[in-house]
């Protein structure tokens, strides 16, 4: 084997692919050829330097923060919302639901008597006309209060609707509680104001079921 033939085999030797009689010929040539010895040593050094040289400049300390900021800027708004914001919005939604419940379900009873029943006249209230007038005023005040609450709730709901629908699409991504995650699809569909209770009450009922069973066990 001469130097030219030996150089052709250096790659295979470096990759550990040289074996048998070729490896023997290669080694025999290297033992008597100083130039090929140096060439092999040099190519081994190339591998060692490329693999192990850690003289690369260092990355900026804030590199990771910059990457994450760049990613955050490109993410959709709803995904960027943090769980704390979700909790705030969810709290506001529950407050709105409570107000609606009070305003719609628990309506104030009018002071007027049921139809067909005349107000009783006592000696302490000698003027029935005045008494009916006071009752009418009271009913009007209740109705005005009722209208006012409804208008405030509608305004609040209009502000919250768009954001709640966005939240409903990303509950899992944001890592919110299971309760809100289960309520999310219903919330998304509950566009009209009157259906918000339908959306929230099944969740509340569902949550109420598990403690009930426990209570039953205790009550037994």
């Amino acid at each position: 084997m001469n130097c030219a033939e030996s150089e052709q085999l250096i790659d295979a030797y470096l990759d550990g692919e040289l074996s048998g009689s070729l490896r023997l010929e290669f080694d025999a040539h290297r033992l008597r050829c100083r130039r090929c010895q140096l060439t092999v040593a040099m190519m081994e050094s190339v591998g060692h330097v490329v693999a192990g040289d850690r003289s690369t400049p260092l990355l900026a300390e804030d590199f990771t923060d910059r990457v994450m900021t760049a990613i955050d800027r490109r993410r959709p708004l709803a995904v960027r919302l943090r769980p704390t914001r979700v909790a705030i919005v969810a709290g506001a939604l529950l407050q709105a639901a409570a107000v609606i419940y009070l305003a719609v379900v628990v309506q104030p009873q009018p002071a007027t008597p049921p139809p067909g029943v005349l107000p009783t006249v006592t000696r302490a209230d000698p003027d029935p006309t005045e008494r009916f007038a006071r009752a009418d005023q009271k009913v009007e005040r209740h109705e005005a209060l009722h209208d006012y609450i409804l208008s405030r709730v509608e305004a609040a709901w209009a502000n919250l609707t768009s954001e709640s629908q966005q939240l409903a699409r990303y509950p899992l991504d944001l890592g919110v509680s299971g309760r809100l995650a289960r309520a999310a699809p219903s919330l998304e569909q509950a566009g009209p104001l009157g259906r918000i209770l339908e959306a929230l009450l099944p969740v509340a009922a569902e949550e109420a079921e598990s403690p009930t069973s426990t209570d039953d066990e205790h009550s037994l």
């Binding site: 150089e7 250096i10 790659d11 470096l14 100083r34 130039r35 140096l38 060439t39 040099m42 190519m43 050094s45 190339v46 591998g47 330097v49 490329v50 693999a51 040289d53 850690r54 003289s55 690369t56 400049p57 990355l59 900026a60 590199f63 990771t64 910059r66 990457v67 994450m68 760049a70 990613i71 955050d72 490109r74 995904v79 990303y170 899992l172 991504d173 944001l174 890592g175």
Partner: protein
Amino acid sequence: MSTDEARRLIARAKRGHADAFRALVEAYQERLFAFVWRMIRDHHDAEDICQAVFVKAYESLPSYSEKYAFSTWLFTIAYRMSINSLRKKRTLSGSIDFAQLARPEDDAAQTLANSEEARRLRTQIWEAVDELSPPQKSSVLLFYREGKSCDQIGQVLGMPAVTVKSHLHRAREKLRKRLQAELVDERMAFEFLSQAHLA
């Protein structure tokens, strides 16, 4: 980072957990930067490319297949972006001399110098590597530095493993010819003169 740990983080990152992707960035950024910097030889451009690589990776996570190593996937994106950057530079400057891309910061970074002889050897080797074409240089870096197989390098460079082997062979041939003249023949002459002097 173990493969299982990487898989767990990738799965969480796919579900939109930013903290999981942040951990992946921290785990791979040094290796990726070293590769891109060796290709580009410009600190700021290399940082910008690495940042773009991670952003692109985050956006493309849904399409990432676990049959490839995550690092191989990252290097694939990084290689394409590095090549695009080099092409832009070539367009702007007319032609590009890869050997001239080395900056003074090379020397500044080599603070862990050993002997003068070792430092010189390292400098000569990197100068020779910088003269390789981008596919040859990438093959050498990924083969020696990252320990990637020819198949994996082929995935990164978008070419068959046979072509990668050919690039590696030509790269070694170039390195051998260049370094033989600088190191081997010089050493032979030195040894010959030393022996003649002793005789």
